[in-house]
């Protein structure tokens, strides 16, 4: 059985956050007729409070590189790239080179920040251009790096590929649990685990009033205490906030400052909208209605996932956590 069939059988989905069936991506790149193909391993891990890719680098480097090699061999790719977050590059590049050995795999130090994790922005960066997302379609599997079919998978996905290839894949994935918890860390749990079970199994379910952010410490969806029976999605992170300890406005500020720093500036809602939310948050009587309007535009019309992520965290916080006035408007 070739690797493609194995991936399909095991129903592996992308571990970067989008949960796209991995075998479909591989299939498209495999079918493409171009002579030159590329494989990219995305280890940009820019989302705050997510550390699972670091965990992969610390513990399963060999497996991850092996997964990339499997892809290169299977697709007969010309070259592979490992795109590493700045500090990961400093820390792990020597070891990675050891595992890469004589394979045509280049290590690339990330300079583009959070947006560089967006796969088309990553490709633009590798081409030496400004890291901005591309208009899609075409998608990277048909037209990626230098216009050639390109497979981009997350570090953990490649790790899983290696496990599947060896027939030892246990249908687990890595979860980062962080925030106001007793046992923070990265855990390997069932790939369909719910938020509640994940917290329970790791002895992290808080006793006090709390809410969580699932998927990432900036772009993740905020869920209230009674909404935890859902699958952990996105990049598999759960950040727990103690409801009494957490100052909502500071939390909003923290998120927005992050997005403001990381926005590439390409599209209006993200470049202008996020800046205006930041401005509004500096004022004593923050106009939450106006913030909601901007968030709506971010959700509906951002160019890429960065703006939508920003919208998701803020709107879910408003809907799931904040109190509402009699007129139905949220209050801080």
């Amino acid at each position: 059985m070739d690797i493609l069939k194995k991936l399909e059988k095991e129903k592996l989905t992308g571990r970067g956050g989008a949960d796209f069936p991995t075998h479909l991506k591989w299939k498209i790149v495999n079918k493409a007729k171009d002579k030159d193909k590329y494989v990219i391993c995305n280890v940009s891990e820019g989302e705050p409070d997510v550390e699972k890719d670091r965990f992969v680098l610390e513990n399963y480097q060999k497996e991850m590189v092996s997964g990339i090699k499997i892809a290169i061999d299977f697709l007969e790719a010309k070259e592979g790239f490992i795109y590493l977050r700045n500090d990961y590059y400093s820390k792990f590049s020597l070891q990675l080179k050891y595992w890469i050995s004589d394979y045509p795999i280049k290590l690339v130090r990330e300079e583009a920040g959070y947006i560089g994790g967006e796969e088309t922005a990553l490709i633009e960066f590798l081409e030496g251009k400004r890291a901005e997302p591309r208009v899609r379609p075409p998608f990277p599997p048909t037209c990626g790096l230098f216009g050639k079919p390109t497979l981009i998978n997350n570090a953990e996905t490649f790790y899983c590929v290696d496990l599947i290839n060896r027939g030892i894949f246990k249908h687990t994935r890595l979860y980062t649990i962080n925030g106001d918890v007793e046992n923070p860390g990265v855990y390997g749990l069932d790939e369909d685990v719910t938020v509640k079970d994940a917290l329970k199994e790791t002895k992290n379910l808080p006793k006090r009033k709390f809410f969580v952010q699932v998927g990432g410490g900036a772009a993740g969806e905020v869920l209230g205490k009674n909404q935890l029976n859902v699958k952990v999605c996105g990049s598999g992170a759960i950040i727990v906030y103690d409801a009494r300890k957490t100052d909502i406005k500071s939390l909003l500020k923290k998120w927005i400052e992050f997005f403001m720093k990381e926005s590439c500036g390409k599209c209006v809602p993200c470049r202008e909208g996020i800046f205006r939310i930041y401005e509004l948050l500096q004022k004593p009587n923050t106009d939450l209605k106006l913030i909601s309007d901007i968030v709506y535009s971010l959700e509906q019309s951002s160019f890429c996932g960065l703006g939508r992520g920003c919208a998701l965290s803020i709107s879910s916080l408003f809907v799931n956590v904040l109190r509402k006035s009699k007129a139905g408007e949220v209050i801080l």
Binding site: P137, C264, G265, C267, V268, C270, L290, Y296, Q300
Partner: protein, 588 residues
């Protein structure tokens, strides 16, 4: 395959059924069917960037709004272009854009033809949601101005970061002078600090800017002052391509010829005399053809390069100075005519040339730079005092509430308003070449040229080549339509220096009809119509060869041939290596 291409897709827009070809975007189908969708960063000359997010539409079955400019139609697609959801998002995005654009409408040359202003007004009138231009505080109040030579003015406080200027500079012109720096809300567009990059003043950035952040450096106030000065005799001369484009700004169709209306309107603005640069072009052709014949005979400095496009000249002087000797020494048409005005005409009319003010109405921003060149002075006088772009001219008319459409046509003034068809086509890419060929053919062979149309050098292709039989000689010519094609031709020449004998370059796509000073919008289709109009003017004229223009003959006979030294000063010029501007910051 053929069937596939012909197959139409059925889509529903706002409840009505339409058809579109596969590969078309929602925006294209809407534009074909006159369904309004607001756009800012979209431009048919450029790749789709989908930055501004005001063309958003709702597509049934998709949970997020789609940008009409970047979404291809699919069979059975259902689109809403003005649902409540769409209007709500458009409104907030427009308000956000407005807050990044410090409105200086009353003093802006684009007042009345600004995309953002149009949208704002449209939404103030009929939008479901009222758009408020002042919902957020202007965030760019303190942002600086930049000046590129005496041609381009970039007010970064008006920039909405759509990226059109960078795109056109980088991809269409391949000059790569404008760059994007920083990210997020700190994103700025800046002139390149690289020593290897310099602005050629073509003004394509200005034509593609939706809001007038980049525009020409205005000479309107200077011109008004000259008109008001009673001591001065103020002369306007209009470039070949003005007459086929300015009508657009007054609701006339693309390519409408309004030559006589322009003459009359100029007089209404207070100009004392109105002349025509088409005549100047005939002078240029005669001088240039003579030089070409001479160079062909001597086999020296070939291929000869045209020089009437000042952006091209600057390009060569900065990027390829070792080719300078190949440029024709003939001056450009409006400089020729300006020189004739300030000498021959002044003498004939017994006017002190110091009291003459010559103003060229040009499709071009680089011409503002050209008139400042020291080596173009005659008798130590600047021969053209100011250049107004076609847009500035239109804006002066609008300000005076002169509706060009209603203006009754008049003739140009004697004697400098008589032109041949050869001069008329100077405004289109290939026109200079064609005019020169008509003259050089007769000059060398001393036979009458019967087939005047050189169709191989016409049209919108990037590089046009032809071999023209002149007597025994097969003259190899090439036309670069747009500056990026000039680079390609120079690269070819580098490999084979004998590849061509004569090369025409126009920096702007389509030639002057697509120039940096032309009315907005400009697209490939519009350029085609403007060019076609010029060829129609040519085909209807009796005199179609520059050297047969009676006024050219007369001025040579009565004046230029008698004053050889002065004639040389009026007709020829020199060139030198160009330096990069030291500081682009403007303190205006």
């Amino acid at each position: 395959m053929q069937n596939l291409k012909l197959r139409k897709l059925k889509i529903t827009i706002n409840g009505k059924k339409y058809q579109g070809s596969p590969g078309k975007t929602i925006l294209e189908v809407c534009q074909e069917n006159d369904i309004f969708i607001p756009t800012l960063c979209y431009h048919p000359d450029l790749e789709v960037k989908a930055n501004c997010r005001v063309c958003v539409v709702e597509v049934k079955g998709r949970n997020k709004l789609c940008t009409a400019c970047s979404t291809e139609i699919e069979d059975g697609m259902e689109v809403l272009t003005d649902s409540e959801k769409v209007e709500k998002v458009r409104k907030i995005n427009l308000e956000l854009i407005f807050a990044a654009h410090v409105e200086k409408c009353p003093t802006c040359v684009r007042d009345g033809e600004c995309l953002l202003q149009d949208l704002m007004r449209a939404y103030e009138e009929k939008g479901i949601y009222k758009v408020r231009s002042n919902r957020f505080e202007d965030r760019k109040k303190t942002w600086p101005n930049f000046q590129f030579g005496p041609s381009i003015f970039f007010d970064s406080s008006k920039c909405i970061d759509c990226g059109n200027c960078v795109e056109v500079c980088d991809k269409v012109q391949k000059i790569k002078f404008l760059e994007v720096e920083g990210k997020g809300y700190r994103t700025r567009i800046l002139p390149s600090s690289s020593k290897m990059r310099e602005c050629i003043y073509c003004g394509q950035c200005a034509v593609h800017c939706p809001v007038g952040a980049i525009q020409e450096q205005s000479s309107i106030d200077d011109v008004k002052r000259a008109i008001l000065d009673r001591k001065k005799i103020v002369i306007a001369q209009i470039a070949p391509s003005i007459r086929v484009s300015i009508g657009e700004d007054f609701g006339m169709s693309y390519g409408k010829v309004v030559t006589e209306k322009v003459y009359a309107a100029l007089r209404m603005l207070g100009f004392d005399k109105v002349f025509d640069v088409n005549l100047g072009a005939d002078f240029t052709t005669v001088v240039e053809a003579e030089e070409l014949a001479e160079r062909l005979q001597k086999g020296k400095d070939l291929p000869m390069l045209t020089s009437c496009c000042p952006a091209w000249v600057r390009y060569l002087e900065f990027y390829f100075p070792w080719y300078i000797s190949h440029l024709t020494t003939a001056r450009s048409p409006h400089i020729h005519l300006g020189g004739v005005i300030k000498t021959y005409y002044a003498e004939k009319e017994k006017i002190d040339p110091e009291n003459l003010v010559v103003i060229s109405i040009m499709p071009c921003t680089a011409k503002k730079f050209e008139i400042c060149r020291e080596e173009l002075k005659v008798n130590n006088m600047q021969v053209v005092d100011y250049v107004l772009t076609n847009r500035e001219f239109a804006s002066m008319l609008r300000e005076r509430k002169i509706d060009l459409k209603k203006v009754k046509g008049e003739k140009a003034d004697n004697p400098l308003g008589v032109y041949s068809g050869a001069g008329a086509i100077y405004g289109a890419s290939g026109g200079v070449m064609e005019s020169a060929l008509r003259t050089v053919y007769e000059k060398i062979t001393r036979k009458t040229l019967l087939r005047l149309d050189f169709k191989n050098v016409r049209g919108v292709k990037g590089i046009k080549e032809a071999t023209v039989k002149i007597g025994k000689k097969a003259l190899k010519v090439a036309v670069a339509n747009g500056i990026k094609n000039a680079k390609e031709i120079l690269d070819r020449l580098h490999k084979d220096p004998k590849l061509y004998d004569y090369i025409e370059v126009m920096a702007c796509p389509g030639g002057c009809i697509g120039g940096g000073g032309q009315p907005i919008p400009v697209t490939k289709e519009i350029r085609k119509k403007r060019a076609q109009a010029l060829y129609t003017i040519d085909s209807r004229l009796k005199v179609r060869k520059a050297h047969e223009n009676p006024i050219v003959k007369k001025v040579f006979k009565e004046f230029l041939d008698r004053n050889k030294k002065l004639a040389h000063e009026i007709l020829h010029t020199t060139y030198q290596r160009a330096e990069k501007q030291k500081d682009y910051t403007s303190y205006l």
